[in-house]
């Protein structure tokens, strides 16, 4: 849906890095290097980024009133 505010496992706040991550990855940079740069060194936090698919725009369509 949306990037979780915190990492599910360790609790590190991660949501503020999402847009930076998305921008750099869309430019074609290596995903692993981008995550290293952002300071995500545990594999729990990295997994959250890799597994996030933004579906909020689609879900929002159904709630318009």
């Amino acid at each position: 849906m949306l990037i979780p505010i915190r990492c599910f496992t360790c609790g590190k706040p991660i949501a503020h890095m999402w847009e930076d991550y998305k921008e750099q990855v869309s430019k074609g940079e290596d995903v692993g290097k981008v995550m290293n740069k952002l300071g995500l060194d545990r594999y729990c936090c990295r997994g959250v980024f890799l597994g996030t698919v933004e579906l909020i725009d689609l879900a929002g369509e159904f709630k318009r009133f």
Binding site: L2, A15, I56, A59, G60, E61, K63, R64
Partner: protein
């Protein structure tokens, strides 16, 4: 007991230090007090006036609760034991409000706090709204402890034993240097050497020991790492945790008399 600072990463608010002359249970006490007892501010009540975004009200409130708030421990007290007797006053509650109707992400920075010192630490996307959608809400943050909910946890501490690596008669230096996931070894001209700055990164995986004649021993010293989530600085977290520990011991002593 001796303490030596190893590393302080200001950008990520992360500190690691070496503890000498203590046992594991003591180090664990520090860790548990940090994650469970050090108080911080977090959103507890959310009054939603309007939420037509794609997220349900509950989800929105949950997300707001998890966003860290810069905490000033001197000017806030716990709700229980406050002079207002649970009615809610400026000493025990922090009011915040948010009103967004511009399409796109709804950011944490669009929240207006009553106390300019205590704001959301990071500018996080809370939800996303389409044209004509709206989010309007009021929030109340209170002081709490990590043992009640992880949102009040000020950070995360962990420890490992200090590694001591001795290199013996190594056959293939190149191979050992490559097998180490943390890059602790340098292989120059077929000779294996330790990379002194990186020894503390070793997480005792024993990959080098399995491969060749390298000895990996642990000592009774502990490397303690503390990562702050942003509500308090690392220094504040450590000093508050210590004063909580002392308070608990004082209470124990007073009750034993």
């Amino acid at each position: 007991m001796k303490v030596e600072k190893i590393n302080f990463d200001k950008k990520n608010d992360k500190i690691s230090f070496l503890l000498k002359g203590v046992n594991e249970s003591f180090v664990n006490v520090i860790r548990r007090i940090i994650t469970e007892e050090v108080p911080t501010l977090a959103i507890e009540d959310v009054e939603i006036k309007e939420n037509s975004s794609g997220l349900y009200d509950e989800m929105l409130a949950l997300r707001l609760g998890l966003v860290p708030i810069k905490t000033d421990l001197k000017s806030y007290t716990f709700k229980e034991g406050c002079k207002c007797e649970g009615a809610g006053c400026a000493r025990c509650e922090l009011k915040m409000a948010m009103k967004v109707s511009k399409k796109g992400y709804v950011y944490a920075d669009s929240a207006v706090s009553k106390d300019p010192k205590c704001k959301f630490v990071y500018n996080m996307p809370i939800t996303k709204i389409l044209p004509k959608q709206k989010v309007e809400l009021q929030m109340t943050a209170i002081l709490g402890r990590g043992k009640d909910h992880a949102k009040w946890s000020p950070g995360w501490g962990f420890y490992k034993k200090e590694p001591v690596i001795t290199i013996g008669n190594v056959k293939d230096a190149e191979k050992v240097a490559n097998v180490c996931p943390k890059g602790i070894f340098n292989a120059k001209g077929g000779k294996l050497a330790l990379n002194k700055d990186k020894v503390y990164d070793c997480h005792l995986c024993n990959a080098c020991v399995d491969l060749d004649d390298v000895k990996l021993e642990d000592t009774d010293n502990y490397i303690f790492t503390l990562e702050s989530w942003g509500q308090l600085s690392c220094k504040d977290v450590l000093t508050t945790s210590m004063s909580i520990l002392l308070e608990k011991l004082d209470q124990l002593g007073a009750n034993l008399k």
